[in-house]
C-alpha cells in the first residue's frame, strides 16, 4: 500500500463522506487514488472556497470538515479559512501537498513553508517526512482536531510520500500524545457555584459557542427550566437554546439586543459558559461588569482569566458542568426566587424593543423577518460578514443548535457562499438560507459554479445596499461622514449573473413584492439568488461604540427619530 492509498483508506474508515478541495501538481497522485474511492470530492473554484465549505460542513453537522490543497499557492489560499476555523473552534482537517522531501528548502516550484505560515492559526500542524510516521500523524491529527476545544489541524505531505510503498500493517499500535489529560476543576468549584446561584438575586447566563460544541443544548434548557435564570447568548452561542423560549433574551454585544446588554450590565451573578469574552462583548475589558460576580466555565483553561478576571473559573465541558449543577440543585432542592429581576427584564423588553423605522424603500431587516416567517424551523441560516450579518443575528430567531452559521471571531467576508454550500452538502434534507451583502458575496463569487454544478438548494439573499455597509456606518458615526472607498460602484446585475451560471435569479425592489418573491424563492427546488435592493442608508442599531460598556448603547429609543444614548 502506498501513502495516498493509506490516506484515502484512513479517511474512509473515519466515516468521511465529503472532501472539499482543489488539485495541483503535488497532489495529482492523491487525487488519482481518491477518484477511485467512494469518497465524494467537491471541486470548489478556489482553495479558500474549499476550506470555508469544509468549515460550513463541520459547523452544520458537528462532524469533521476535510479539505485538500496543493503545495505553494494552493496551501497559502487556505490561510484565511484556517484562521476563521481556528478563531471559531471548528474541527477541520486540512491536507496539503508539499514538494518532494529532497526539494524542501530549495525554493522549488510551488514551494511554501505552510507549516511556518500556519503555526499561529492552527490548533496543531504536521510536516510528514517519513512514510512510517503517516499513520500516527493522521490518527493524532484526527484526535487533536476534535478533542477538547476543537480546531483546525493541517498536515503537510511531500509529494513523494503519496507514492511511497510501505507495509502499514507492520506498525505497532499508534500511541496518541502522551499528554496527561487535564483535570477538570468542577469538583472543587461545585460548592462555590451552587452557593453563588443560591444567593444570587439577579443572575444571568451568557451562553457561547462552547455550548453548541459540547452538544449541551438539552442540558442548558433543563437548567434554565429549573432555575428560571434568563439567558443571553454571544453571536457564536446563537441557537444554543431556542430564542423563542421564555426567558431567552437574545444576543449581547456591540449590536446586541438592548435588553440583553442591559441585563448583562446589571446582573449580580454572571454564569458564562463556553465563551471567551471577546471584545465585541466586553468593550473595554478593564471596566467590564465590575460590580458582578463571574463564574466562567470553559473547556480551555487558557480562556479562563485571559480577557476577564473570573471569580470562579471552572475548567469543564459545558455539558458535564450543566448536568452536575442541575443534579446538585435538585438534590439540595434549591429553588431560586427571581421575581423582581424577571420583572425588571420584561420592563426593559417593553421599553426598549429591537426596532427599525419602516420606510418607503425596502429595509434589510424586513427581508430577514419575512424569510424567517416563511422558512421552516429546520432551515440552516448562514451569513456573510457585515451589516446583514448583524441584522440576521438580531432579526432571525434561531431555534436549535447548528442552524446559525456565521464567521464570528475573524469576521471573514466571503465566508458565506462556500460555507452555505458545505452546510447544504452535509444536510441534504435541509433548506440552507444565505444572507449576504453585495460586498461579501463578491469575495467568493466564483463558488456560484460549485453551487450550480451540485444543484444545492441554497437560497441566497443578497441584501444589496451598493456599499460596504458596516464600514460606511462607522464612517457616518465616527468619521464625520467621509465615505472613503466604501461605495461599491460597478456591481454586476446579480440576477443576470445568476442566470449566466444557470441559477434562478429574482429581484426584490419594493416592499410590496417581498412576500410573493420570498415564497417563490423558498419553493424553488435548487439554488436561487434573490437580489434585494435595500435602503443603502440603513444602519445597525443599537451599537455600543468601540471600547464602551455594554449599556452605553446608541440607538433610537421609544419612538425617537434621532439616535441617542440609552438612558
Amino acid at each position: 500500500m502506498d501513502g495516498a492509498e493509506f490516506l484515502v483508506k484512513f479517511l474512509e474508515n473515519k466515516g468521511v463522506e465529503h472532501i472539499f478541495g482543489y488539485p495541483g501538481g503535488s497532489v495529482i497522485y492523491l487525487y488519482d487514488v481518491m477518484d477511485r474511492s467512494p469518497l465524494k470530492h467537491i471541486l470548489t473554484r478556489h482553495e479558500q472556497g474549499a476550506v470555508h465549505a469544509a468549515d460550513g460542513y463541520a459547523r452544520a453537522t458537528g462532524k469533521m470538515g476535510v479539505c485538500i490543497a496543493t503545495s505553494g499557492p494552493g496551501a497559502t489560499n487556505l490561510v484565511t479559512g484556517l484562521t476563521n476555523a481556528y478563531l471559531d473552534s471548528v474541527p477541520l482537517l486540512a491536507i496539503t501537498g508539499q514538494v518532494d522531501c529532497a526539494s524542501i528548502g530549495s525554493d522549488s516550484f510551488q514551494e511554501a513553508d505552510i507549516i511556518g505560515i500556519t503555526m499561529p492559526i492552527t490548533k496543531h500542524n504536521y510536516l510528514v517526512k517519513d512514510i512510517e510516521d503517516l499513520p500516527a500523524v493522521m490518527e493524532e491529527a484526527w484526535h487533536v482536531a476534535q478533542t477538547g476545544r476543537p480546531g483546525p489541524v493541517l498536515i503537510d505531505i511531500p509529494k513523494d510520500l503519496f507514492k511511497a510503498e510501505f507495509d502499514f500493517t507492520s506498525l505497532p499500535k499508534q500511541i496518541i500524545t502522551r499528554k496527561t489529560p487535564r483535570k477538570n476543576s468542577l469538583e472543587e468549584q461545585l460548592e462555590k457555584v451552587i452557593n453563588l446561584l443560591k444567593e444570587a438575586k439577579e443572575p444571568l447566563i451568557l451562553a457561547g459557542g462552547g455550548v453548541i460544541s459540547a452538544k449541551a443544548s438539552a442540558e442548558l434548557k433543563e437548567f434554565v427550566n429549573y432555575t428560571n435564570i434568563p439567558v443571553v447568548t454571544t453571536l457564536m452561542g446563537k441557537g444554543s437554546i431556542s430564542e423563542e423560549d421564555a426567558g431567552i433574551i437574545g444576543m449581547v454585544g456591540m449590536h446586541g439586543k438592548p435588553t440583553a446588554n442591559l441585563a448583562l450590565s446589571s446582573c449580580d451573578l454572571l454564569l458564562a459558559i463556553g465563551t471567551r469574552f471577546s471584545d465585541r462583548i466586553t468593550g473595554n475589558p478593564k471596566e467590564f461588569l465590575l460590580g458582578s460576580t463571574k463564574i466562567h466555565v470553559d473547556i480551555d483553561p487558557a480562556e479562563l482569566c485571559k480577557n476577564i478576571e473570573a471569580d470562579v473559573p471552572v475548567v469543564c465541558d459545558a455539558k458535564k458542568f450543566l448536568r452536575k449543577v442541575i443534579d446538585k440543585l435538585q438534590e439540595k432542592k434549591i429553588k431560586l426566587d427571581l421575581g423582581p429581576w424577571l420583572t425588571t427584564i420584561s420592563h426593559w423588553q417593553e421599553k426598549y424593543p429591537l426596532c427599525y423605522e419602516a420606510g418607503p424603500g425596502l429595509k434589510p431587516q424586513q427581508v430577514i423577518q419575512e424569510v424567517s416567517r416563511k422558512a421552516g424551523e429546520e432551515a440552516i441560516v448562514v451569513t456573510d460578514v457585515g451589516q446583514h450579518q448583524m441584522f440576521t443575528a438580531q432579526y432571525y430567531p434561531i431555534k436549535s443548535a447548528r442552524k446559525f452559521l456565521s464567521s464570528g471571531g475573524l469576521g471573514t467576508m466571503g465566508f458565506g457562499l462556500p460555507a452555505a454550500l458545505g452546510a447544504a452538502l452535509g444536510n441534504p434534507e435541509a433548506d440552507v438560507l444565505l444572507f449576504t451583502g453585495d460586498g461579501s458575496f463578491q469575495m467568493n463569487i466564483q463558488e456560484l459554479a460549485t453551487l450550480a454544478l451540485n444543484n444545492l438548494p441554497v437560497k441566497v439573499f443578497i441584501l444589496n445596499n451598493e456599499c460596504l455597509g458596516m464600514v460606511r456606518q462607522w464612517q457616518e458615526l465616527f468619521f464625520e461622514e467621509r465615505y472613503a472607498q466604501t461605495l461599491l460602484n460597478g456591481n454586476p446585475d446579480f440576477v443576470r449573473l445568476a442566470e449566466v451560471y444557470g441559477i434562478k435569479g429574482l429581484r426584490i425592489v419594493n416592499p410590496g413584492e417581498l412576500q410573493t418573491k420570498v415564497e417563490e424563492a423558498l419553493q424553488h427546488r435548487g439554488p436561487v439568488i434573490v437580489e434585494c435592493a435595500v435602503d443603502p442608508r440603513e444602519n445597525v442599531f443599537p451599537i455600543v461604540p468601540p471600547g464602551g460598556k455594554p449599556n452605553e448603547m446608541l440607538g433610537r429609543w421609544q419612538g425617537e427619530t434621532h439616535i441617542s444614548r440609552i438612558s
Binding site: 511556518g116 496543531h124 517526512k129 496527561t180
Partner: protein, 159 residues
C-alpha cells in the same frame, strides 16, 4: 518578576518553533531559552526564563500546556533549585592588569581557558547574580567579547 519554567516536550523537529512562536505572537517576553535532550531521548527539556506578573505567567503556562507537543510545564521559580548559566568572556589583559584579573577569576572560582597576547578568555558558571557580578568586575578592564547561555535549572533532591 522573573519566572523559571521547566517545560518537558516531545523531542521532535518543529517543537522549538511552536513554543517560541507562541511567545512572539502572544506578546510575552522570553529572557532566555535553553533546550536540550533529557535522560529519555524522546523527551526534550526547555528551560525558559520569562518576565511578567502573575497573570502573564499564568497565561504563558496555560498556553504552553495547550501545545500538543508539550508534556509538562513546571514553574520552579519558588522551588529549591540549582540554577546555572555558562559564561565565556574575552577581557582585555595588558601585562599590568593580568595579575588583578587572575585574582578576580580566582575569587569567583572561574577559569581562564585561553591566553592571548593582549586578552584572556574567562569561563564561568553560576546563577544569574554571580554571572552579572563577574561581568561587572571585569568590565573596567575592557570586555572584547561576551557570550552567555540562558539558565538551566533543576530541582534539588530531597534532603
Amino acid at each position: 518578576m522573573r519566572h523559571t519554567l521547566a517545560v518537558l516536550v516531545e523531542n521532535q523537529p518543529g517543537v522549538l518553533s511552536h513554543v517560541s512562536g507562541l511567545f512572539s505572537r502572544r506578546g510575552y517576553n522570553i529572557e532566555s531559552l535553553v533546550v536540550s535532550e533529557t535522560e529519555d531521548h524522546t523527551v526534550s527539556r526547555i528551560t525558559l526564563v520569562v518576565e511578567g506578573d502573575e497573570q502573564v505567567i499564568e497565561q504563558v503556562t496555560k498556553q504552553l500546556n495547550k501545545q500538543v507537543e508539550v508534556i509538562k510545564v513546571n514553574d520552579i521559580t519558588n522551588e529549591e533549585i540549582v540554577e546555572r548559566q555558562l559564561l565565556l568572556l574575552k577581557v582585555s589583559a595588558d601585562p599590568a592588569d593580568r595579575q588583578e584579573i587572575m585574582q578576580i577569576v580566582d575569587i569567583f572560582r572561574c577559569r581562564i581557558v585561553d591566553i592571548g597576547r593582549r586578552s584572556l578568555v574567562v569561563e564561568a558558571t553560576g546563577d544569574e547574580k554571580k554571572i552579572q557580578a563577574i561581568i561587572k568586575s571585569l568590565r573596567p578592564f575592557g570586555i572584547q567579547e561576551l557570550v552567555c547561555t540562558g539558565s538551566v535549572a533543576m530541582l534539588r533532591g530531597q534532603k
